[in-house]
Structures are given as structure tokens and as C-alpha cells.
Symmetry: C6
Subunit: 257 residues, 6 copies
């Protein structure tokens, strides 16, 4: 199946940052399959975009079994991610957010567009990334008073980033410039030393607490924007970056990250 | 074996929430087998309902070896589960409770009907679920003064839920929003850090203690209802949701969860 | 080999509680073999009873290498088990006790007859069971001033029961209703948490100390009965439940468990 | 190869206590081989006795590479074992002691004759056994001021016995009647609990210290007997039980174990 | 493919210190391949030099996806390594530094020329080596205020060297002359002893902190040289030892290591 | 290849103490090979001596890549070993010392001649052995102010000996007569008990510190002898026991071990 003329490969490449060989092969197969199913003779942008999402988040769930109150909670959650990301400088821009679930565990998802090959990350950028990851459950707390168990992979990812900052990047002022993960073949790994392990744990929590506080400040101060994105998601299920920006423009940002 | 006309598949689906592929295949096989054994030419609701229970709880025990005093204890235990579940808001409704054992370990059991595809669970819901799980042994304590070792899987399940709340969902105010289970390939797992592990243990116990107190309050305040359900179980062995509701209506609820 | 007419299968079933499939197959083989060896054409009660003991305790030791002073110690030990069991309410009745060793490690043994399918055990019953297990070495202490290393499997069993009470049944008031054994696949097992492990250890010891004190009180207060059972064992080697009861009737019980 | 008439099998059996099947088969093979090598047509007592030692301690070392000062130290060491054993009541009698090494590690050795099938061991007997094991290095200290590294298997054995007393026999007053070794398949082994492990360690050391003090008291008070046995070993290399007893009779015992 | 006449093999050998057999075979293959690709009939110095780098750092990255601000950060980072190395006595001289990435993880790299077969390293030399390794991220801090996650292999290497100094070379005054890595087959490895492991951790951090302070002092005092090397790298991408020396000569060193 | 007449096998045997079967086979092969290479028809003493060294220390390094300053450091290091060994009573006499490296890691080496089959080692002998092992780096400190990383196997060996003294020989006054290495199959190894492991660590360090102090006292007091051996090694590369003794005779010993 040939690729359609005029296809902007750069735009697709921007969405596939972080893909490895197998992912890309998978992507091309999916796109060709989708085009064939629609009876098209060439693969166009729509097929590639749909394929990127299938590879990232699994097939679209056809059944509508989500309870209304859960559906609203999902909308609030995704709105939280997107609003924190858009409120902080130098984060990856939001490409699309949706409450249509895909795969087994994702209830909804937010896609980011890195746009450039970012290879270096500072402490500030990583802290903002953690705030974005925690933005979903914080939005639930802000709107409903308590959050749910639907976003444990966000929490796991945020904890991993915080742990790397402390134990691999040397970014904790308390522990200093030191590598604390066990290297293969090294006799004495720090995992055996309780007191150092405890220091790492406390620094990881401090970094997570800072990200939590940052997300909470943003979402409480921009509550009208949060509500507006939520309502738009409830009405339209999916928002692209342009639609999101329109809502944000109506509720301008007054918080600095 | 064809399915009988007019079979309400939605009702069966409601009982099979949480089933995965293999369970469903198993369910259909069982139902067809039961129908064939009875000489029926189509599979009807009765066969499906019996099959759901076989899949969930194993084959019905034919031997009646349980001592009379143990039989009463089992009735009290199941009545405890059901009464706590019915006394708390937003829990899964009780579908059936019985003191006829199935499989190797179950002495009796209580089936819940989720009814809807609940995909998100808040701290409140999880706390009520723990209270329901502990309701069986608490009822034994309330009635007999001490409980037995017949419900360790309830205790294990309740502890697992409490541990997930603390270590995977970030729902402990003391430990905060952090992921504390070991991720595969991660160098320093928190299992090595005594002090953090101890904090998790104490939070798990606190959550279990709260669930215990909640169950105890309900069962002490609704003692007449507990006794009435017990007597009904001793007389009829099995109660469906309608029969249970009739008893509860005679002993109205005055406790708020 | 056919089974003899009039064989009371219920009596045999009562002795085989806790047997699993392989044990029962083993039992029937042994009984048929014994009958064949004796030239019988049917398997009678005697063959089944002998077989139950072979399966439970191994083949009878033909050599008589035990020193006289050790033989008396074994008699005291078995008398201790039996007397504690008979002095406590609601324990399994003693079926037979003997100082004729079987298998590799057993110096003597006491067989209990559960009689009914007890499926639930309370804290009180488990505590009495521990006292019965410790009764053997306590009797040695009462009679000889110090005990021997011949009963480590009793001690191991008593410790396991006490550990289960604390870590699986939630029966320790100090640790509360919590499951503390590692479940397969669970990330953070409590075995890694020193302080909780220590709490478990101390509760296990407290339960064992209570069982020890209970056994000691019984055996010191019923010393004449202990001596009488010992002398009967030295004279006859084996006592069945009727013979044991006759001795107990001559030394009536004044201790409450 | 047939066995000689009039062979006292009971005497050989007394030396082989603790042998398992493979050891006995080994023993018979060795004895037949030795008899064949000597051109004998029947296996006599001498061949069996030599074979028992080969099986217990390995082949006799033909090379004489031991330095004179080391040879004296070995004699003192073996004399220490033998004298402690003979000075305590109820220990296994010494059958033979020698400074002719066998096998790879043994510099000399002392053989004990259990004589009867001792199946039960009290705390007193085990304590005396530990004192006997430590008697070798204690004798070195008494005579030379410091001991050597030639007896680590004695120390390992003594520590194992002390550990079993504490962790498997329940013989430590501090830890009480409890089983502390990990049972296979048990979730929480005490090896994970630092504080309990430390208690075991300290009790093990206390028991070893008591054995050490007992051995030291005996050897210091019976120094003339120690020196006499040493000189006899230097002169004759090997002493049997009769020769040892003659020396002991000349230096009568005034210490009670 | 024959080697060109007049090739200075000593110069190539100086670059390959630390290569093992497989690396050298790899190197010759690469050089022959490169020469063949260029249509040369002999392998010349240029092919060997390019091959050394391919073996050390992987193939040159053809795509230019690095963002401009990241490119400058990489230049500052490499300039930091080189300037610290050149400012300390007795370190390996810098052979080349570049911001053209190679392989998967390296963003840029600095090659050192050992020149002689250094087989012994003192505490002073190792401390200077650590300062050189940390010089990259320190330069980022000096210029941008915070450093990035692009140099975790530097941090890992520096930590490993510091750990070896403490645990294998006996160079920590606090822990003294002792070997603390687990030897294979040794029973009690120090990795099990929390307090010793903690002492090692703290000494490792102290050594790293000293290296950090040393690198920071040099880079702050020689900021003009740092900026000049950075600008040269931004302009020319790669600097050889002569070009680097020219810049250093314009900004003479006033700091003593 | 036959062995030359008049070969003093006792002298070779004295050098091969500690060899096991495979080493000896290796030795004979090497000697035959060396003789064949030299065109000899019999294997003489020279071939055996060269072979002993090849087996002990690997093949002679042909390349001379060691820097002059490193060469002097190696001479000082080996002189330190030899001088400490010769200054203490009852140690194995030095057979040869050299700064010509062999094998992969050895920079130089000192060969000792046990001369007799020493099978027992006291605390004093082991302490002197540790001082000899540490003598190399101590000499570096005395002469150059700091030592290098070239002798980690000495440090590892010294630590192992000290650990054995404490944990296997029962030679620590603090821990007493106890075996602390994990025996295979034993449940509770002391490696799990932090506090005992720490006690072992501290005793190991104390023993090492004593050996260090002993070596330092000797080398500081006999500095002229140290310098003289160093200069002789720089001039002649290798010293045999006679040449070493001549130097020592010129600088008589005034220190007692």
C-alpha cells in the first residue's frame, strides 16, 4: 500500500518520538491495514494518526459500559493532566485528550507532542513533568473531594522519575551527586543499606509532594478552565490541541510554574 | 446446545462482571453440560445461574459433615457479610447468600451483584469493601464472643486491598501520593527499606482497624437483623436478594456508613 | 481383596480425617496387603486400623534398642500429651497411645480421634491444641526436672499453629485483624519489615508461653494420673481409649482448661 | 569373603551407631578388601575395626610431614577431648584416641563408643558434649597459652549443637519453648527478624561460653592427667580405652561435671 | 588490506590502552573496512583513528535532531570535562573533544590519551579522575544554574571509583585498610551489615563531594577558559589536543589541583 | 622426558607446599616443556624452579611498559613485604622477590618458602602473616606518603584471614569461641543478624589495624634496610634469599615482632 502524496511525514515523526524499531513497523502495518479496510488505495494522514494512537494506547473500546458518574470523573482527570501541562513553561504541548478508553486499563488518555528531539532534561523540567502526571488525580480531588484508583500507572511513572532524579541523576541536594542504583556485578548495592535507602525514599516523597503542590495550586487557581475543559470533553469526548487552546484562551493563565 | 428463547443475557452479564475469557468459556461449557444432563434441548436461565456459582465457588459439596454448632457459626458469618454490605451506601448489592459449602475451602459464601461496570474506586468505597469483607468474623465475635479460622481468605483479601490503597493508589495521608511496590527491573525496591516498609504496615493496619470498627458498629446496632438473617439461613440454607430484602425491611437501618 | 461384611466404615472414616486421596489409596493397599499376608480372604477392621497407623506413623520398629531410662522418658512424654488432651474441654479425644516406636523419628505416639468433621477452630480450641502438643515435654520436666530433644516436631507444629493464629487468622490482639504472610506475587512481604516481624515473633512466644503454662498447671495438679498412665504404658506398652479412660476415672479431673 | 567364627558382632555394632545404609555397605566392602589384601580367607575383628576407622576418618596418612612442635600440640589437643569426656558423667566413653592423622583435614582424632542406642538428649548431656568438643582447643590454651586453627570442625559442631538447643529444642530459658528454624514453605522465617536472630546468637554464645568454662575448669584441675595422656600419646601415638583408663586411674578425678 | 608505510603504530597503541583482544580485532576490521570503502589500497592513520572512536563510542550519528539549546549545553558539558582534566597535575591528557554524538546514549564525548601504561593509581590521582568525571555537570551548573540528566554514566563511573577506593583499595581513613566487597564463596559478606554498608556510603559521598568541590573551584576560577572552549566547540564541533591547548594558552591556569 | 640425575626433589617439594593434584601435573608438564624448548634431554632443577613460578604467578611479562616511577614504587612495595616477613619470628622465610611482573595483575611478587608442612597456625602466627601481607602498601606510605591500588589482592587476603580468625577459628576475645560462617543447609545464618555481623566487622578491622601498626613500626624503624632492598631490586630486578640476607645482615634487626 503506497503512501498518499503530500503526506506531512514530519508531523507524524513528531508524534512518534520515543518509538523504537518494532513500534514503527507496527505503526506502518496498522496504517496499511486501516487504509485497506476503508477501501483506500493509499495510506493517508488519518490512518497514520489513528495508528499512532492504537500503538500507544491499544484498540478503541467499543462497549460503552462506563457509568455516567465514572465518565465525568474521567473527563475531570484528563482535563487535569492537560491543564497542568499547558500551565507550565517548557513542557511538551498537549496534542489531544479524550475520554474514549482504549486497551485494557486506560480509561481515557492525554497525548503529548514533543515536537523536537529533547535529549536533556533539567530538574525543573522533570519537576513539571511530575506535576503533569499527578494533575489527573489532583483534579479529581479538587472537583470531587477524593480521587480514585484509576491512575496508578501515572503514580508509578511519577515515582520512577522522582527516584531516578535522586538515585541516578544526582539531583537531590540532600544526597548529592551520587549514583545509588545497583550496577550489575557490583558487590555492595545501596539496596542493602537501610539508612541510605530511607534517605532516597524521603527525597522521592519530597519531590512528589512538590509536584503535588504545584499541580494543586494550578488547578485550584484555574478551576474555571478545568471545568470548561471537563464540560467540553463530556460533550465532545475528544479535544484536539486547537480546541483545547480555544478553551484556554477564554480562561487566560495567571499562574507561573 | 442452543440458548433458550427469551433468556435475559443482561442479567447473566451482571453476574459475570470480572470474568475473563477463560471464565466465560468455562461458564458456557458448564451450562451446556448441566442442560444436557437434565435432558433439556436448550440452555435456560437456571443452568446459567448454577454455572456462574460453580465457576465462582466450585462444585456443591454433597456430603453433610459439618457439625451443628459449626453450621450456625457459618450462618452467622455469612449473615455478617450480607448485613454490612446492605448497611453501607454505594456497595455492590447482595445477590444471594448460602451456608451450603462449595469447593474445598468455602464453608458458605455470599454473592454480590455489581450491576454496572464500576471501573473507578474511591477511598470511601474501598473502606466500605474492607468492612464488608471483615463483616463475617466480626459477626462471629458479636454473637459467640470469639471468631474462627474459617475466613482467612477474607482477611487476606482485605489486607491486600488496604496494602494497595497505601502502596499503589497513594491513598495514605501519612505516606502521600507515592508508588511503593517494586517495579520489575527497578534497582532499589522499597521492600529493602525497613522504615518505609514499617510505615506501610502501620497504615495498612490503621485502614483495617477502621474497617473493623465500621463493621462492628453496624453489626452491634443491627443485632436483631443479624439474628433474623441467621435464623432464615439456618431454616432455608440459601437466601436470594429478595428474601434478604424482606428481612431487612422488617429491621430497618438506622446506621449511616 | 473384598471388604469383610459388617465392617463399620464410619469408624474408619473417623480415624482418617485429614487424609487426602493419596493417603486413602495408600491405606487400602496396606490393608489388602496385611490381610493377604495373614491368609485372610477379606479385609477386616484389624487390617484397616493397623494400616491407618502405618500410614500415619510409618512401619513398627522391630528392634528394641531403646535404653530403659529412655523408655520411661518416652512413656512419661506420651502420658503428658494424653493427660493434657483429656483435661481440656472440646479437644479431639485420645484414640490410642503407645511407646512402641514407628518410622524413623517417632519414639512413641498418641493418636487422636476427631470423630466429627471439625472445620472451624476458635482461639480457645487452638490454644488448647498447643497445650496438648507441649504436654509431652512438660511432663518430662515435671517428672525428671529437664526435658529432652526427642519432640522437636511437636515444638515445630505448636510454633506453626501459633504463627498462623497471629499472621493468618488475625487472632493476636496486639497485631489485630491483618494477614501477614507473603502472598505469591505481592511486592512488599512483611518478612522484610523487621519491626512487624519482631511483633509477630513476640506474639507467637506469648501464645506458646500460655500453652506451656496451661499444660504445666494440668500436669502438676494431676501428677497422680500422669504417673498412673506412665506405669500402665511401661507395663502394657500401648493403651486404647477405654484403658486410658479407666485410669482417668480412678484419678478424677479437678482442673478447668 | 565369609566372616570369621566367633566374631562379636555386638561390639562392632556398638562402634557403628549413627551409620546409615551406605556407611554399612561401605564398611563391609572395606573389611573384605583388607582381609583379601592380607591373604586371609575370613574377615576378622581387626579388619572390621580398621574399616570402621577408615569410614569414620578416611585412610591413614602415610607421609610423616608434621613438625615436632605441631605433633605435640596435636597430642595435647586429643588428650583434652578425651580428658573432658572422661571427667563428665553420662557422656559416651572414649574408645580410642590417636595422633596419627587420617583423611585430608583430621590431624588426630578421638573415637567415642556410644555403646547403647541413645535416642534422647537432655540439656545437661548436650552441654557436656559441647564441653568435650571444646576440650581440644582449651587444652592447647592451658598448655601453650594460645590455641591453633586446626579444630574448626569441632567449633562448627559445637556451635551447631548450641544453635539447635536454642532454635529447635526450645532449651533456652530466655527464648523459651519455640521453634525458630525456617520450615520449608513458611512465609515469615525468623532469619528475617534481626532482634530474634540476635537473641539466638547471644544464647548460642552463652551456651558455648558455659561449655568453655566447664572444659577449662576440668583441664586446669586435672593438668597432671592431661600431661600424662599427652606424654603417652607422644610415646605410643595411639591409646585404646584400657590404656587411657590406666592413666586416669593414676590421676583420679576430683571434679564433678 | 595492507597497512600504509610509515604508519606510527606507537601513536595508535597510545590510544588503545585498555583495549582487550576483541576490541583490537574489532579495531583492525573497522579500519580495513573504512579504507576499502574509500577505495584505498592501504590502511592509513586516518582510518585507524576513526576506527578507535567507532569502537570507543559507537557509529557517528547522521541525523541532526538536537535542539540548539541542548547543543550549547553539550558543548559546555564537554568543555567542563576537558578544562578540569587540563587543570590538574598528573591526569591523562585530553586527546580530542567533540559535540558530535555517537552511538545511542553519548551526546558528545571527550577522549583522553594515557600515553603510558599507568598501572598504579594513588588516592590523589583517583580524586582528580573523579573531579574530571564530574566536570561536565559542574560546568552545566556554573553556566546554566542547573545540570541535566545527560551524563548519568559519568556519575555512575565516578561513584564506582569512589566505592572501590573505600571498599577495595582501603583508601578511606575512616574505614581503614580493609576489603569490603563480597568475595565469591565467602559466607558473611559485608553487604549484609547495615552499619558498615552505611559507613561505606558516607565515605563514598565524602569522596564525591570533594571531587565536586575541586571541579567547581576550577571551573569558576577559569570561567573565561570554559566559555572560550564552549564557543570553539559551537563553531567547530570538534577540537583536537593542539586546538584545545591554543585556547588554554590564551587563558593561563592559576589554580593548583 | 626423564628427570636429571641428582635432582633434589625435597627442595622442589618444599616450594610446592599447598599444591593440589592439578597444580603438580601442571608443574611437571611445564618443566618438561621448558626442557624440550631448551633442547635438553633431561628436566633439571632450573626448569622445575621456573615452572613453580609460572604455576604460582603466570607467565613472565615480556613487554616493558611500566613507567619508571611505577617501577620504583613496585620495588618499594616488594621490599616492604620481604622486610616485614624477615623481621618477625616464626614466619615463612622469603625465597625470592622480584619486580618483573608475571600474569595479568601481578606487578611484582615475593615468594615464601614454607620449608616444613605447617598444619597449625596460632593467633600470633596469623597476626604476623597479616602484617606481612600489609607490608607492601605500608612501605609505599612510608616512602611516598601515599599508597597505590596495585595490591588489592593482598588486602583481600589479609581481610579473609582476619575474618576467618574471628568467624571460623573463634580467635576474637570479644565474640569468643563460636562459628559464625553459614553452614550449608543451616536455617539461620549469622549473615542475617546485623548486630553480630557488625561485631565481626569491627573485630576484623581491629585485627587488620594491629597488623598495619606492626608493619608500620617495623618499616619505619628499619627504613635503611627498606631503602637498601629497594635499591638492590631497582638494580638487579630479582633477589634470592641469599642476596636478601646479605642486605639484612648489613642492616641488623632491632625490632621484636
Amino acid at each position: 500500500v503506497p503512501v498518499a502524496d503530500g503526506l506531512d511525514l514530519r508531523q507524524i515523526a513528531a508524534m512518534t518520538t520515543g518509538f523504537v524499531g518494532a513500534d514503527l513497523a507496527n505503526l506502518v502495518n496498522e496504517a496499511a491495514l486501516l487504509a485497506a479496510r476503508k477501501g483506500k488505495t493509499t495510506v493517508e494522514h488519518a490512518e497514520f494518526e489513528e495508528s499512532v494512537e492504537r500503538v500507544l494506547a491499544g484498540p478503541r473500546r467499543s462497549q460503552r459500559l462506563v457509568r455516567p458518574q465514572d465518565r465525568r470523573r474521567i473527563a475531570v482527570h484528563e482535563a487535569g493532566h492537560a491543564l497542568v501541562a499547558c500551565s507550565l513553561p517548557d513542557t511538551d504541548p498537549v496534542h489531544k485528550l479524550t475520554i474514549v478508553g482504549r486497551g485494557l486499563s486506560a480509561l481515557g488518555y492525554t497525548l503529548y507532542r514533543p515536537g523536537e528531539d529533547r535529549v536533556l532534561h533539567t530538574r525543573t523540567w522533570l519537576g513539571n513533568y511530575i506535576a503533569t502526571l499527578l494533575g489527573g488525580t489532583v483534579a479529581e480531588e479538587v472537583v470531587f473531594g477524593e480521587f480514585s484508583d484509576g491512575a496508578t500507572s501515572d503514580l508509578q511513572r511519577a515515582t520512577e522519575v522522582a527516584r531516578k532524579m535522586v538515585a541516578e541523576f544526582g539531583m537531590s541536594p540532600k544526597l548529592g551527586r551520587v549514583w545509588l542504583s545497583a550496577a550489575p556485578g557490583e558487590g555492595a548495592s545501596p539496596a542493602c543499606c537501610e539508612e541510605t535507602g530511607r534517605e532516597v525514599d524521603l527525597e522521592v516523597r519530597r519531590i512528589l509532594d512538590e509536584g503535588l503542590a504545584l499541580a494543586r495550586t494550578i488547578l485550584e487557581e484555574r478551576r474555571p478552565a478545568l471545568d470548561a475543559i471537563t464540560e467540553a470533553l463530556m460533550a465532545r469526548e475528544t479535544l484536539d490541541s486547537r480546541e483545547l487552546q480555544e478553551i484556554l484562551d477564554e480562561h487566560p493563565h495567571k499562574v507561573a510554574g
